[in-house]
C-alpha cells in the first residue's frame, strides 16, 4: 500500500508521518489493528448474548436494557449529525415523536406495531427529506433553533388531530396482552434496531461517504476545497439520522404502550442525546456507547434526587465540552491508542515499525 493523502488527525505521530509523505517516502496505511479483531469477536458474542437474554433473565432487566438501547440509538444518531456533519440540532425529538405517531397511525389501521417499525422508519426518512429542504441553508445556531421550531410545529399539529388522541394522548392498540411476550418482543425489536442502527452508522462511515464526513468533521473548508460533495453528504446524514430517530420513536411508543405529544416531542430527548454524546466523546462511534453507559448508570443511581440529576449532568457536560472536547473516549483513545471500530486510517512510514507511530500518547 502506498502513500495517500495523510489523514493527519488519525495518525498517532503526525509530524513524522507527514514529513515522510512530503519527502516522497512511501507511507503504509491500514484500517485494522489488533484491537479491532477483538472488537469483532466481542460484538458477535455480545449480540448473541443480548438476543438470548429474555430466556435467561427476568423482564425487569430487559426492560432496563430497552431504555438503554433507546438512549444509545438516539445519541448515536445525534452524534452522526453533530459529530461528523457538524450539524448541532436541538430538534431531533421531532423525528422521535413522528416515529411514535407513525406507528400509532399504522396500528390504528390494523398493522401490528412491531411490523410498523420499518414503516415508521421509512416515513421519518421521508419527513427528514422534507425538513432538510427547509433547513439545508442554515448553519450553526440557526440550524439548531430552527430544528427546535420544527419539532414544536410537529407537536402543535399532532395535538390538533383528535383521531391521534389530541393533547391528552392515547394508548397504542394492537399489542399482545401477554406481558411476558410483549416485554420479550419489545426487547428483541429494540436490540434489532440498535444493532442495525449502529451497523448502519459503521458502514456509512467506512464507505466513501464516510471519508467525506470525516473530512467535514476535521475541516469543512478543506473538504470543500478538495471537491468533496459536502451538501449531498449532509443530506444523506440528515435523512439517516431522521430515520434512526424515527425508529427510536417507534420503539418508544411500543415500550410505553401510550403516547402523549408533550412527552413524545420533549426537548429532554435532545438533552439526553447531547449530554450522552458530549460526555462519551463526540465524533467517534465509541463515544455514544461509553456515554450511554455513564449516563444510564448515573440515571439509575441519581434518579431519586429528582432534578439534581439533570443539574449535575448539565454541569458535567458543559465542563467536558470546554475542557475535554473529545469526551471520555477521546481521552482513552489518545492515551492508549485504542479504536474499537476501524473507520479511520493508520499511517506510518514504510519500513518503520508501526508501533512507534500507532498508539500511546502523542
Amino acid at each position: 500500500m502506498s502513500a495517500v493523502e495523510p489523514a493527519e488527525h488519525q495518525a498517532a505521530n503526525v509530524s513524522q508521518v507527514a514529513e515522510a509523505a512530503r519527502s516522497g517516502m512511501p507511507v503504509e496505511v491500514t484500517r485494522s489493528r489488533g484491537s479491532t479483531i477483538w472488537t469483532a469477536i466481542a460484538v458477535i458474542v455480545i449480540v448473541a448474548v443480548l438476543f438470548d437474554l429474555p430466556r435467561i433473565v427476568y423482564s425487569g432487566t430487559t426492560n432496563l436494557l430497552v431504555d438503554f438501547f433507546f438512549l444509545l440509538i438516539i445519541s448515536s444518531m445525534w452524534n452522526l449529525l453533530a459529530g461528523y456533519a457538524g450539524l448541532v440540532s436541538v430538534g431531533q425529538q421531532a423525528f422521535i415523536g413522528l416515529g411514535a405517531y407513525f406507528v400509532l397511525i399504522a396500528a390504528n389501521h390494523g398493522t401490528s406495531p412491531f411490523m410498523a417499525i420499518p414503516i415508521a422508519t421509512a416515513a421519518c426518512a421521508v419527513a427528514g427529506l422534507v425538513v432538510w429542504w427547509l433547513v439545508s441553508r442554515l448553519r450553526s445556531g440557526y440550524f439548531a433553533i430552527t430544528m427546535w421550531a420544527v419539532a414544536s410545529v410537529c407537536e402543535l399539529i399532532i395535538i390538533q388531530i383528535s383521531s391521534l388522541g389530541g393533547g391528552t394522548g392515547t394508548a397504542l392498540p394492537g399489542l399482545t396482552s401477554n406481558p411476558t411476550y410483549l416485554d420479550a418482543y419489545t426487547y428483541w425489536a429494540t436490540v434489532v434496531v440498535a444493532v442495525v442502527g449502529l451497523a448502519g452508522i459503521y458502514f456509512l462511515l467506512r464507505s466513501p461517504l464516510g471519508l467525506v464526513l470525516t473530512a467535514i468533521r476535521d475541516n469543512e473548508t478543506g473538504a470543500r476545497s478538495t471537491g468533496s460533495r459536502v451538501a449531498r453528504t449532509r443530506l444523506v446524514v440528515f435523512v439517516v439520522s431522521a430515520a434512526g430517530c424515527g425508529a427510536a420513536g417507534a420503539l418508544y411508543i411500543i415500550s410505553q404502550q401510550f403516547v402523549v405529544p408533550p412527552a413524545a416531542f420533549s426537548v429532554s430527548f435532545s438533552a439526553e442525546m447531547i449530554f450522552i454524546t458530549i460526555i462519551g466523546g463526540i465524533g467517534t462511534i465509541e463515544g455514544p456507547i461509553i456515554g450511554t453507559i455513564i449516563f444510564f448508570t448515573l440515571q439509575q443511581t441519581l434518579s431519586h434526587y429528582g432534578v439534581w440529576y439533570w443539574i449535575i449532568l448539565g454541569i458535567i457536560a458543559m465542563a467536558v465540552a470546554i475542557w475535554a472536547p473529545r469526551g471520555i473516549w477521546g481521552l482513552v483513545s489518545e492515551n492508549f491508542g485504542v479504536r474499537l471500530f476501524p473507520v479511520g486510517y493508520y499511517l506510518w512510514p514504510a519500513g518503520e515499525s508501526p508501533r512507534r507511530f500507532i498508539g500511546g500518547k502523542r
Binding site: R137, Y142, W148, Q160, M318, I322
Partner: protein, 290 residues
Amino acid sequence: MVWVSAIVQGILVGGLFALFACGLSLMFGVMNVINLAHGDLAVIAAYLALGAVTVTHVPAIWSFVIVVPIFAGGGYLLQRTLLQAALNRSVLTTLLVTFGLSVVIENGLQQFFSANSRALNIGNLITESFSIGSQITIAYLDLGILVVAVVVLLGLQFFLSSSRHGRLIRAVADDREAAQIAGVSYRHVFGIAAAIAFGTVALAGIAFGMYQQFDPTIGTDQLLLFAFEAVVVGGLGSLWGTLAGGVLLGVAQQLGAVYNAADQMLAGQLFFLLVLLIRPSGIFGRKETA
C-alpha cells in the same frame, strides 16, 4: 373588527417579543453566539423580581431597578468566564454549553421554586384598560410594555451608534482582528455586549412576569423560540428589524388565535418557517446575513 383588534393586540405583544429578541440578536451579531439559555435567563429575571418584591417590598413595577443591574453584572461575568471559554473552542461548543446552561437553569428553578406557576403582582394595573370604539380594548400594561420596548430599542440604537463603547462593539462585530490591532480588548467588549444583552433580557423577563404567569419550563418551551423567531423574521443587524419582527410575529399569533384559540402558537411558528423559506435573511435583513 375582530381582525383589527387582533392586529392591535399583536402589535402590543410584539413589543414584548422584540424586547426578548434584542439581547439574542446583539449577542449573535457581536460574538456569533446563539444563546440557547436566553429564554431561561428571562425566567430567572422574573423569579428574581419576585424575590426582590418579597424582600424589599418595592412595587413590582420598580423591581427592574434591582434586577437589571444584577443581570448586567452577571452577564459580563458569564461572558468573561464560561462563554468565552466555550468561544475559544468553537462556535459549536457555545451551542452545547448554552444548551447545558439552559437545562441547568430550568432544573435549578424547578428545584428552588417548584414547578408551580407564579406571577408578579401589579395590582389593578393588570385589568386597567381603555377602549377605542366598541371593539378595541387596549390594556395600559400592554401599551406600557410596548413603550418600554421602543424606548429600550431606541436607547440601544443610540448607544451603538453614538457612544464610545457602542463604537467599540460595532468595530469588534465588524472585524475582530482589525479592532484588536487597533488596541481593543475584544474580550472586554464581548463582556459589555453580554451585559447589555442580559440587561435587556432581564427587563423582558420582568415584563413577561407581569404580562402572564410563568413557570420554570416556559423559558425553553416558548420564550427562546419567540425571541429567535422575532430575530429571524426581522432580520439580523437591525434593531428596527427586530422590532418589526416581534410585531409581525405577535400579529401572526393573534390572527391565528382569531381563527382558533389553539392555533396561536402554531400560526406564529408557521409564519416563521414561511419567512425562513422565502427570505432567510429576514424581511428587513441584509442579504448576506442568512
